[in-house]
C-alpha cells in the first residue's frame, strides 16, 4: 500500500549549519507514528520541512503519492495535511470561535468532517469559552484550541509537534483520549514527542532521532524492549 506521507533523503539547514542528515520516514494511512528524541535533535525541523517552512532543505516529500516539496504551506494545508506547531501560535487577539474560523476549510471526501459543534464535543473545555480571546487562555487550553483549529480544515493527516509539552498530567491524559478518538475517526497522525509514556499510550510505530539522523525505526513495542536504544537516545 502506498504510504500517506513519505519523506526521503531529507537534509535541512539553518543558515550555514546543517541540522538534518538524510531523514527517511513513512506514515501509512490511519497510523499514529511518533518521532522521538531529546531536545534539539531535529524533530521540529523535520515537521517544519514537511510543510515547507524551512528556507533551505533538500529531499523528497510526498503526500498521498504526490510531491509537495515545492508547494506553499497554504497549498500543502489545502491538500489535507494539517500542522499543529509546537508553540501553538494561537491568534491571541481573536476569540476561540474566530480562531476556529481562520482554520475552517471546505469538507473533503474520505476524511472526517469537523464542525464547531463536533469539536466542542471533543474538547468540552473550549465549548465553555467560545468568546474568550486566545490571549486569555491557559497553555493547555491553547494547545487544545490549536489542534481544534487545524481540524477545522478537515485534514486527512495531521502533524503534531510535541502536543504534551508543558502540560499538566491531567491535561496530558485528556490529550491521550483526544488522539485515540482521532485515530478512531481514521485520521493519520505524525507527532513528535519527548514523553515516552505519552507516546506509548497512543502510537503504533516510532522513529528515534539523534543529531539529525534516524537511529531507530520500528514498532513501539520493539522500542520498549530495546533498552540500549532507549538509554542511548532517549534517557535524560
Amino acid at each position: 500500500m502506498k504510504p500517506m506521507l513519505s519523506v526521503s533523503e531529507l537534509n535541512a539547514w539553518y543558515g550555514q549549519a546543517q541540522v538534518l542528515f538524510g531523514i527517511d520516514l513513512e506514515v501509512q494511512q490511519g497510523e499514529i507514528v511518533v518521532l522521538l528524541g531529546r531536545n534539539g535533535v531535529g524533530k521540529t525541523t523535520t515537521l517544519k520541512s514537511v510543510v515547507n517552512l524551512l528556507a533551505k532543505a533538500t529531499g523528497r516529500i510526498e503526500f498521498q503519492g504526490r510531491s509537495i516539496r515545492d508547494l506553499a504551506p497554504s497549498s500543502i494545508a489545502r491538500l489535507g495535511l494539517g500542522y499543529v506547531p509546537e508553540d501553538r501560535r494561537i491568534f491571541t487577539d481573536l476569540t476561540v470561535m474566530e480562531n476556529l474560523e481562520v482554520g475552517r476549510q471546505a469538507p473533503r471526501a474520505n476524511t472526517p468532517h469537523w464542525t464547531v459543534d463536533r469539536l466542542f464535543d471533543l474538547f468540552p473545555n473550549l465549548a465553555r469559552m467560545r468568546d474568550r480571546s486566545g490571549g486569555h487562555m491557559s497553555g493547555g487550553e491553547q494547545q487544545m484550541l490549536s489542534i481544534a483549529r487545524t481540524l477545522m480544515g478537515n485534514p486527512s493527516t495531521v502533524l503534531l509537534d510535541e502536543p504534551s509539552e508543558g502540560l499538566a498530567p491531567v491535561i496530558v491524559q485528556q490529550m491521550v483520549e483526544v488522539l485515540k478518538e482521532l485515530k478512531r475517526q481514521g485520521l493519520t497522525v505524525l507527532l513528535s514527542e519527548q514523553n515516552l509514556s505519552f507516546a506509548k499510550a497512543i502510537s503504533d510505530r516510532a522513529y528515534v532521532i539523534e543529531k539529525g539522523q534516524i537511529r531507530f525505526a520500528g514498532a513501539l513495542t520493539e522500542l520498549l524492549e530495546n533498552e540500549e536504544i532507549r538509554r542511548a537516545y532517549l534517557a535524560v
Partner: protein
Amino acid sequence: MWEITTQVLTGLASASNLFLVACGLTLIFGVTRVVNFAHGSIYMLGAYAMVTFVSPMREYLGPTLGFWAAVAASVIFAAVVAALIEVVLLRRLYRSNHLFQLLATFGVVLIVQDLVILVWGADDILGPRAPGLTGFVSLGEHRFPAYSIFMIAVGPVVFLALWLILHRTRWGTLIRAASQDKEMVGLLGARDKLLMTSVLALGGALAGLAGALQIPMQPANAFMDVSIITEAFVITVIGGMGSMTGAFLAAILVGLIQALGIQLFPKSTLVLVFLVMAIVLVIRPWGLLGRPEVEAGGAMGEPPERILSPNTTRFALAALAIFLLLAPQFMSEYHVGLLIEVLLMSLFAFSLNFILGNGGLVSFGHAAYFGLGAYGAALAVYHWRWPMEAALVLGPLVAAAGALVFGWFVLRLAGVYAAMLTLAIAQILWSLAFQWNEFSGGDNGVNGIWPSAWAQSRVVFYYVVLLLSVAAIGALWRATKAPLGYTLRAGRDSPRRCEAIGINLLTHRWAGFVLAGAAAGLSGALFAFSKGTVDTHVLSVHMTVDSLVMVLIGGVNAITGPLMGGTIYPLLKAYIMPLTDAWRMFLGAVILLTVLLFPQGLAGFLSKFSRRFNSSTEPTSVSLRVASERGQ
C-alpha cells in the same frame, strides 16, 4: 464661541480625510509589515481619476448620479492600482529590511509622479463641487460649507464599516489573524497571497476614496502625494502602527491640532503636530494603541568580501589621491564643479552609512542634517554677514546640535517607528524652512552665499572641499575602526548582548548619530557655498532619498559602498537628467531594480563577480583574513 466651533468642525472634516488615508496605511502595515510610501500616490491617483471620470459621467448620468458614480469609479481604479503594485512589487519585499521597503515604495512614488505629469500635465486640475452640498450652514455670523459637514460624517461611517468588516466577516477575521501571524494563517490553508493582495486593494480603495472626496475642496495636483503621506505616517505612528482605532483617534487629534493650532502658530502647524507626536512617543514608544514590534526588520545581508589585496588597495588609494590632487590642472571648470559635487555627495552618503550600515540605525531623514548644515552656514552669511570660514564651522555645529536633540527621541525607538520619526523630523524642518519666509527665505531660499575672496576661484574652492571632505571621511572611517565603531556594529548585530555585557548602547549610538549629523552638516555647508544658494530642496525627502540611493547603489554593508554610490550618483544625475523629462521615473526605476536585483549594491555585486573569477586562488585565506579583520 462660534469661531471656535467653526475651527473644530474644520478640524474634524480634515480629520476624516486623514483617517481615510491613514487607516488604509495602518491596515496594510498590520498585515504586510510594509510601510507603504506609495499609499500617497494611490490617494493622488484617486483624485486624478475623479477629475477625469467626473465630466463624462455627469454627461451620461446627470450631475448627481454622475458625481457619485465618478467617486465609485475612482475608488475601484485606486484599488486595482494598489493591488497591481502588491502583485508586481510588494510581494517581493516582504522579507526585506524596512529601509529597502520604504525606498522601493518611494521608487513607486517617483514613477507615479512623472506618470501623472505625463498623463495630466503639471497644472492643477479643478473638479466640480459635490451636487446638493454646495451650500453653507450658518453658525452665528460664520458660514460653514455643507460639504465639510458631509466630510465630518464620512470618517466615522467608514470607521464603523471597517470595524464591521474586520469583526463580522471571514475576510476580516483572516485579516486580523494575519496581522498577528501571517505564516500561521497560511499554514491553516487560507489563501495568504490572495489575502495580501485583497488588503492592498482595500487600503487602496480607501485612499482612492479620500482622494476623490478631496476634489470638491482642493484641485488635483502632482504634489499632493508626499504631503498627505507624511501626515498619514504621523497619524499611524501616533495611533500605533496597525491599530485602526488608534488611527481614528490620532486623525481626530491631528485634525484638531491643525485647525486650532493655526491661530497659535500660523506659520507651521506641522511643528505643533510634531511636538504632539514626540510627546506621545516619549510616553508610549509604540503609539497610543500600538504594540511593540517583535521582529527587528529583515536582514541587510552579509558584508561583501574584500576584493582588492592590501597592496592593490594602497596602490589604488595613491592613484586616487594623485588624481584628486591634479584633477583641476587638466579638467574644465564644469568638471571641477562636478568633482566638488562628487566629493560632497560621497561625504553625505558616508555619514549616512556610518549610522545605517555600521550602526544598523534606520534613518529616513538624513536630509535634516545636510539641510541644517546648509541653512546654518547660509543664514549666518545672509543675516549676520559671517565670513565663509566661520560659517563652515557653524553649519556642522548646527547639524550636530540638531542630531543631539532629535537623536534623543529617535534612538529610544526601534525599527519602523524610528524610521517614521526621522522622516517626520526632516519634513518638519522642511516645512519650517518653507513657511518661515522672513528668516529662511521660504520657497526662494537664500542667495549670495559665496566663498571668501581667497577661495572665490573654482579651483581653490575645490581644494577647500577636497581637504575638508577627505578629512571628514577619514575621521569617520577611523571612527569605524575605533571602539565607538565596534560598539555600534556590536549593537547592530546584537543589541541585547551589548546591554548584557554592560555597554550603554544608547550613549554610543547617540555619539555616532551626532558625529554622522555633523559630517552631513559639513557636506551641506560646503554645498551651500559651492552653489551660492540654498533652498528647501536640501531639506526635502528627495534629498534623503538621494542619500539612501547612493548608499544603496554602492552597497550598505561595504565601507567603500557609499563612496562608490556618492561618485556614481552625481555623475548619473549630471549626464542623464538633462537628457530626459522623466528623471524621477528613471530614478524610481533605478531604485526598484537595485532593491530587487542587487540589494547588496555595487560592492556586493563586484565582490560576487570577483569571487567567481578568482575561484582558482585560495578563497579560505581571503575569507579568513576578512573574518579576522572584522572580528578583531
